[in-house]
Amino acid sequence: MTAPLLRVEHVMVQIGGLVAVSDLGFEVGQGEVVSLIGPNGAGKTTAFNAITGYIRPRRGTIHFEGRDIIGLSPERIAALGLVRSFQRTSIFGACTVLENALMALHLRGRAGLLEAFIPLPGRRREEARLRDEAMAMLDFVGLSARAAARADSLAYGEQRRLGIALAAAAAPRLLLLDEPAAGLNPSETADCMALIRQLRDRGTTILLVEHDMAMVMRISDRIVVLNQGRIIADGPPAAIRENPEVIRAYLGGAPEGVGHAAA
């Protein structure tokens, strides 16, 4: 395998004086689907926040394509090709679905203040291209029929799909999905899984946080298990299923919810 796309080493994150993640280290290789799992409070979302620049780790390094990204703003990190989705706040509610997609394609456009005033042909071409890309993305997630609807009028499952579409819109190299299947019914979960596979087939590397174990086991190339702020296992799904430490962590060896290593 060539140099990993993402390399996280010895990352420690404190939130309000509590250690949320004590020693995080894992890699994501080009083209892989990697799942980050662990009991509630294990620090999964914190790890996402650290990788995407929303929280600054106290210690450790995070390299994306060989480049140190600690201290960069979320928007800089996105511009490098590392984009995430969110568990809850995932759409621009008062805008139409198409506008949502256009906003998410921000990085694919160039127009600045000058282009806003001078009707250069390039500007029109760019707008037309962005619209095409937006429609293609909506088509991809099966929302093109709802393009003119307000985003917050979509059904819950559709909103989740739109959320993934927004993160995937600008064709990032690495896509971080935070519980994409949370709250979905079985058939919607199957759709979601198919969507993730399609994204991978388009060449997007995916790092996933997910609670639905059946989905994780079926979709992942590799699974990283986090418990109480540190990595306890890392390997292919079959090996993780058998790992005694993982079983212990999930079956109540450690009290659930007391994930803060400081405790």
Partner: protein
């Protein structure tokens, strides 16, 4: 409002001095127009970025002082025995420097204030205007303090065949304000309909998500502030050369409040909102004058603000647009913000 209706409105307003040359009405419309330009600029911040900026009078006042000082000239000590002198400049130089000075301060405030959000942002913008007011009151050598800058020249324009002419008649000033107003409207419209406008609305709707797709929050908010401040500065310049006297009261909170009321009455985040709200609140006080005390006017403003927030939080334009579902506003590329319903 479709583009055609918009231009018809502009044409009707332009023909008004010819059709009904009532000097009193023209004067009222001119001063209303100046504040409408301020409201149009405020709407870019309040409506499209969603930042409740309550120091807008600062940019208006800076524009007024910059324009007045450039056209009057000044000679001040700047320490170490050095002096800074400026000979009186033509009025158009004053107008341009008003835009420039306000824009630079907009950039400064934007850089400073957009690191914070919510209540802190609101308070820092208020303090900003307050500091400028104190500066204007106390830097007597430059601003004449409370004695005010007087004798500010009227606007002048270069006209083919006649050279530079002073715009002294009511109709001429009215047309100038109308022209600048149309320009300000177009500037805001172009920005709102561009990739920048989309980024601004994305930041307003969901800043965390917007940043995650690579929209640089500070960058775009600063652009919006600079443009907004520049337009407000232009309005301040018009004000200075129209009333021809500028005192530190141009920085008063009450001017900001006036513009805020205009924007939320008409509908923040809609292009026509500040125009509609501005016409209502620009003309209403003059209709009430004579029949009521000035305090009554401000009490009415305050009460109107409370009632609007309670019963028409989105403003008039979106309410009317919802009433006419068949005629979807074509000039509105982006939907109006829908705040949490009240009641």
């Amino acid at each position: 409002m479709s583009g055609l209706v918009g231009w018809a409105f502009v044409l009707a307003m332009a023909l008004l001095p010819v059709v009904a040359p009532d000097p009193y009405m023209l004067a009222v419309l001119t001063s209303a127009g100046i504040f409408i330009i301020g409201a149009i600029s405020l709407n870019l911040l309040l409506g499209y970025t969603g930042q409740l900026s309550l120091g807008h009078a600062a940019f208006f006042g800076l524009g007024a002082y910059a324009s007045a000082l450039a056209s009057l000239g000044f000679d001040i000590g700047i320490g170490f025995g050095m002096r800074l002198r400026l000979e009186p400049q033509p009025v158009y130089v004053g107008f341009l420097s008003a835009i420039l000075v306000a824009g630079v301060f907009g950039w400064l405030l934007g850089r400073l204030a957009f690191r914070i959000r919510g209540a802190y942002f609101v308070i820092i913008t208020i303090c900003f205007a307050q500091v400028l007011r104190m500066l204007a009151l106390n830097w007597v050598e430059l601003t004449q303090g409370p004695m005010a800058l007087v004798g500010i020249p009227p606007f002048s324009l270069w006209w083919p065949g006649q050279g530079v002419v002073d715009l002294t008649s009511k109709a001429q000033t009215y047309w100038l304000v109308l022209g600048v107003g149309v320009l300000a409207f177009l500037v805001v419209r172009q920005i709102v309909h561009s990739r920048i406008g989309r980024a601004l609305v994305a930041l307003r709707e969901n800043e965390t998500l917007a940043r995650s797709v690579g929209i640089r929050a500070t960058h775009y908010l600063v652009i919006a502030t600079v443009v907004s401040a520049g337009i407000a500065g232009a309005a301040g310049s018009l004000f200075a050369h129209y009333v021809r006297i500028v005192d530190p009261d141009v920085f008063l909170f009450i001017y900001t409040v006036t513009m805020v009321i205009m924007v939320i009455t008409g509908g923040k985040g809609t292009l026509w909102g500040p125009v509609v709200g501005g016409l209502i609140f620009g003309l209403l006080p003059d209709m009430l004058r004579g029949s009521a005390r000035p305090e009554a006017q401000w009490i009415a403003y305050g009460a109107a603000m409370i009632l609007l927030v309670m019963f028409l939080p989105r403003g008039i334009v979106p309410a009317v647009a919802a009433w006419l579902p068949a005629r979807r506003p074509a000039t509105q590329a982006l939907p109006t913000p829908v705040r949490e319903g009240v009641g």
